[in-house]
Amino acid sequence: MVNFFIFVGIIILILMMVVFYRVLKGPTVMDRLLGVNVIGTKATVLLVVMGVIFERVDMFVDIAIGYGLLNFIASIGAAKYFQHHKVLQPRSQWEEDLTKS
């Protein structure tokens, strides 16, 4: 049965890598934020799966609860940033170009 959970964990990790492609590529910042949010939620699940593999779920569940409670703080913080500065892409990536033109 442990082999089954190792299989589940590896599948989750590989699909996480697929999501990570969006974080790497993402045309806008919002796409990156979305990908990071998905990775954070799946990390919670992976912690519990690791607990089953170690056969000590009672210890690992505490970490997973803490993680599940905290992992949406970063998303809310970034969202508050974008509510104050309503700029998706900085007007120019290079400060120098602005001064020249």
């Binding site: 990790l13 890598m17 990775i39 954070g40 992976l46 970490i63 803490g66 409670l69 900085p90 990536q93």
Partner: protein, 341 residues
């Protein structure tokens, strides 16, 4: 140790760190760096380091990303274009490649990954694992080493958190911010002009009591499961941070004011050092808890070590909680203490 997970995760971690250095937009770099912390937590769980993973989960998911976002919020987000500075880039690359090469050569001398018979695992650590249960009755060896065997080390680590948050508070405080801070003590705040969405406020109101209850559980239950003062303190601080992000900094200040925060910062370190000092007065060494059994004769030396560890954890949690909140309020309001992130 689950090596299948670890190899995949370590590869992902290297890619993630590289991407966060490579992205030009600073906000994007900070967000990808949040994912880096998530993955690091999983790596440590895979290697069996549960307490470290818990700390990283609380710190990386809750606090450090918020600090970065607050800094980008108050500075600029663009990166200035530099002309291809050949000398600096070339010089630094040469240094890094050379040093990396030498370290790679030295790899062959280290013990293999997961070797149980290496010298690291067989001298001091073996003593702790075999004697912790008899001497302190604490099953979680990490807690007993943290709060008892190496308590002197931990005391100064707590002191570093204390000093760092005081430094941030004093250096970033502005003169008009100081006046506002004095004025806003126990002032009634109207919540009508809060610009946040209702959904976030309600969800945070639902989560924060659970968070604080869970943090207290983590502090108290650290003897039997992963957890302890550092983790519980960071989660308590993160709950206050969440509250001040959902509403306003002033709402938290109305209940948990800055003066009170500075006091509780100091009280945490004082509890830790005070217990050590009591041990010194009672005739033991500094932080040798078994001397406390002279004060409470009903407890044996084992029981007194067990109980003193709990009080030490409470002190650590107080300091870390108020330290994290002090750092957040200073950084996010740029020393004005007026409105949050």
């Amino acid at each position: 140790m689950i090596w299948q997970f670890d190899i995949l995760l370590l590869t992902l971690v290297v890619v993630c760190g590289f991407v966060s250095l490579w992205i030009k937009d600073l906000m994007g770099a900070v967000i990808v760096f949040g994912a880096y912390s998530f993955l690091m937590c999983l790596v440590w769980t895979g290697m069996g380091a549960v307490d470290v993973a818990f700390t990283e989960a609380a710190v990386g998911a809750g606090v450090s990303t918020i600090f970065f976002i607050a800094t980008v919020f108050h500075t600029s987000r663009t990166i200035r274009y530099n002309k291809w500075d050949l000398s600096t880039k070339f010089f630094s690359s040469i240094i890094c490649i050379l040093m990396g090469f030498f370290l790679m050569v030295a790899i062959g001398d280290f013990p293999a990954w997961g070797d149980a018979l290496s010298p690291v695992n067989n001298n001091v650590a073996k003593y702790y694992l075999e004697n912790s249960m008899e001497e302190t009755k604490v099953p979680n060896v990490v807690t007993s080493v943290l709060a008892d065997y190496r308590a002197f080390d931990t005391m100064f680590e707590t002191g570093v958190v204390f000093v760092a948050s005081l430094v941030i508070f004093t250096l970033l405080l502005q003169s008009d911010g100081r006046k506002k801070l004095m004025k806003s003590a126990f002032q009634k705040v109207s919540f009508l002009n809060v610009s946040e969405s209702l959904i976030i406020r309600k969800a945070c109101g639902l989560m924060v009591p659970f968070m604080q209850l869970f943090a207290l559980y983590v502090v108290v239950h650290g003897h039997y499961s992963p957890g302890g003062g550092f983790q519980g303190g960071v989660i308590l601080g993160a709950s206050l941070i969440l509250l001040s992000m959902a509403y306003d900094i002033k709402k938290v200040f109305a209940r948990f004011h800055m003066k009170f925060m500075i006091k509780s910062l100091a009280v945490g370190v004082l509890i830790f050092a005070g217990i050590g000092l009591i041990c010194l007065i009672l005739g033991g060494n500094f932080l040798d808890y078994s001397a406390l059994s002279k004060l409470f004769p009903s407890m044996g030396s084992i029981k007194s070590r067990y109980n003193a560890m709990l009080w030490v954890e409470v002190g650590v949690a107080l300091t870390v909680m108020s330290g994290m909140f002090a750092i957040y309020t200073s950084l996010s309001s740029n020393g004005k203490f007026e409105e949050g992130l």
